[in-house]
């Protein structure tokens, strides 16, 4: 378990770093796919198999393809090496992010005691339990999400087609 965690964590960090550091956008999207799959592995380690499969289905199966699609329609295969990588004021952005990381990490590292045993050992969450909980206490949320997805679908179609109508 420990080894698996460190391997997955290393792949996730590597994928994320490569995604933001690589100049070629297609390489960046493929590294983020690596990151997504490492997270799916971590979800399996945390006994959330259903979420892991949904992660693969939604992120690697759909979002990744959408990103590649958008890149294929907007950039050339070889990329454009002369284009600038960083935005203006990137130093400020880096500074703010670094400060935030420090704010996250200091309490986590200084705190010596941490929860290590899981209550999940005597309870295996099944898809059925998930579905029943989803349909009973969270029914309103499911409705809102369904509405949001429909609105998003229509908005995406409108945004993409109005541009081509010009």
């Amino acid at each position: 378990m420990t080894v698996a965690f460190y391997i997955m964590a290393a792949i996730a960090v590597l994928g994320a770093v490569m995604a933001i550091a690589l100049r070629n956008v297609v390489h960046a999207v493929f590294s983020v796919l690596l990151f997504f799959s490492a997270l799916a592995g971590l979800f399996i380690l945390l006994l959330a198999e259903f979420i892991a499969v949904v992660q693969v289905l939604v992120y690697i199966g759909s979002v990744g393809i959408l990103m590649l699609f958008a890149i294929m329609l907007t950039t050339k295969v070889t990329g454009d090496p002369t284009r600038k990588l960083l935005s203006r004021g990137w130093a400020w952005g880096g500074l703010v992010s670094g400060a935030l990381l420090l704010a996250f990490l200091v309490p986590l590292i200084t705190q010596s005691k941490s929860e290590s045993n899981s209550q999940l050992s005597n309870f295996n969450p099944s898809v059925k339990d998930l579905g029943l909980t989803l349909m009973d206490p969270y029914f309103a949320s499911v409705g809102v999400i369904a509405l949001l997805l429909t609105a998003g679908l229509i908005a995406a179609v409108v945004a993409a087609s109005s541009a081509s109508g010009e």
Binding site: V26, E49, F50, V53, V54, V56, L57, I60, G61, S62, G64, I65, L66, L68, F69, M72, L73, V77, T78, S126, V127, K128
Partner: protein, 369 residues
């Protein structure tokens, strides 16, 4: 972990056996396609290729030669030994990755596909590499990765026709994934009606179909799903990505030799796996009759196991034959027709189908409170 070394070896051996079986079937499917096409077009098909020693055996050898059984060997050798051209203008890394990426999903899906049963002491257990609770979700997750092979090949080739093929394939596969997912929801609603606790497990779904096959209870779902797998496997009439009269050969135009062979084998592996999934979901897996009769049921022991595998394979191959039959019967759609069919026909029909079966199943369920 509690796993012994012998267990791990046994798992690897089983996995290798299934993978080898799938790959040999996909090679034979290529031969079957040629034979079926020649049969439909009133030709003879491959019947000359022979091996030096085997072909000389009096009746057996000539019979095998006439059946064209040595043809896959010759095809495979040809693809292996030919020069492997890599054009200068391609992106090398992704160009090599693409054929592999198109082969992986087909082999991975087989892991959760139950292909037989073992009955011991009256209790049936599945013959499957991994009996997942979320089997069908796993299949959807992995099959959605299949598009990467084509999109990569089209993009990395860095030339017009492959690029168009790649774009077309990804748009087509995303569109038909929706109706594919929606079309099988009624099946799992049916299998999870009160009194039946199937979950999303494929083995339990097959056992649930012992009374009546899915295709009889919900033929419309089966039709929608079948059309969707035609689109997902890029078979004619949906073979937009490689429509040879418009795009040369589509996404694999720049490929030759062994890499082309991988694409080719992957296509047939996808067809076989898709037919297997269809068999499990709608054709009752290894249950011999569409409607249950106590007179004909599989016996216990190894005979029953072999029979169940045999029945499953026969059904799968019949679906594969249907794939080929359609290919040599129907002409190709135009691209806008495919998108129109996917979004304005298949998707609404799948939704209507879902609502309809929700109502039917609710009416069938006895009110308890």
């Amino acid at each position: 972990m509690t796993m012994e070394v012998t267990d791990i070896v046994w798992v690897i051996v089983k996995a290798a056996m299934v993978a080898i079986a799938l790959l040999s079937f996909s090679n034979l499917a290529v031969l079957a396609e040629r034979k079926v096409s020649s049969w439909i077009q009133g030709r003879v098909g491959p019947n000359r290729t022979t091996l030096p020693l085997l072909g000389a055996i009096p009746i057996l050898g000539t019979g095998l030669t006439r059946m064209g059984l040595f043809q896959p060997v010759a095809d495979g050798l040809k693809l292996l030994l030919k020069e492997d051209p890599v054009p200068d203008h391609v992106n090398k890394f992704y160009f090599f990755l693409a054929p592999v990426a198109s082969m992986i999903p087909a082999i991975t899906i087989v892991v959760v596909l139950p292909f037989g049963q073992i009955i011991a002491d009256g209790v049936a257990s599945p013959l499957v590499l991994a009996d997942l609770d979320i089997g069908i979700l796993f299949i959807f997750a992995v099959s959605s990765l299949g598009v990467y092979g084509m999109i990569l090949a089209g993009w990395a080739s860095n030339s017009k026709y492959p690029f168009l093929g790649g774009i077309r394939s990804s748009a087509q596969m995303i569109s038909y994934e929706l109706s594919m997912g929606l079309s099988i929801l009624p099946v799992f609603m049916w299998a999870n009606a009160p009194g039946a606790e199937t979950g999303l497990n494929l083995f339990s779904l097959v056992q649930h179909q012992q009374l009546v096959w899915g295709v009889i209870f919900m033929p419309f779902s089966a039709l929608l799903f079948l059309i969707s797998i035609f689109a997902e496997t890029n078979r004619l009439p949906f073979d937009m990505p490689e429509s040879e009269s418009e795009l040369v050969a589509g996404f694999n135009t720049e490929y030759g030799s062994f890499k082309f062979g991988l694409f080719f084998a992957a296509e047939y592996a996808h067809i076989i796996v898709g037919s297997g999934v269809f068999t499990v979901l709608f054709l009752g897996g290894w249950h011999p009759l569409p409607v249950y009769s106590s007179a004909i049921s599989l016996p216990e022991g190894s005979v029953g196991t072999l029979l169940s595998i045999g029945i499953f394979l026969v059904k799968t191959f019949l679906v594969v034959f249907f794939f080929m039959w359609i290919r040599w019967t129907l002409p190709r759609f135009r691209y806008d027709q495919i998108m129109k069919l996917g979004w304005t026909m298949m998707l609404p029909l799948a939704l209507v189908n879902l609502v309809l079966y929700a109502i039917i199943l609710a009416l069938m369920t006895p009110v308890t409170h």
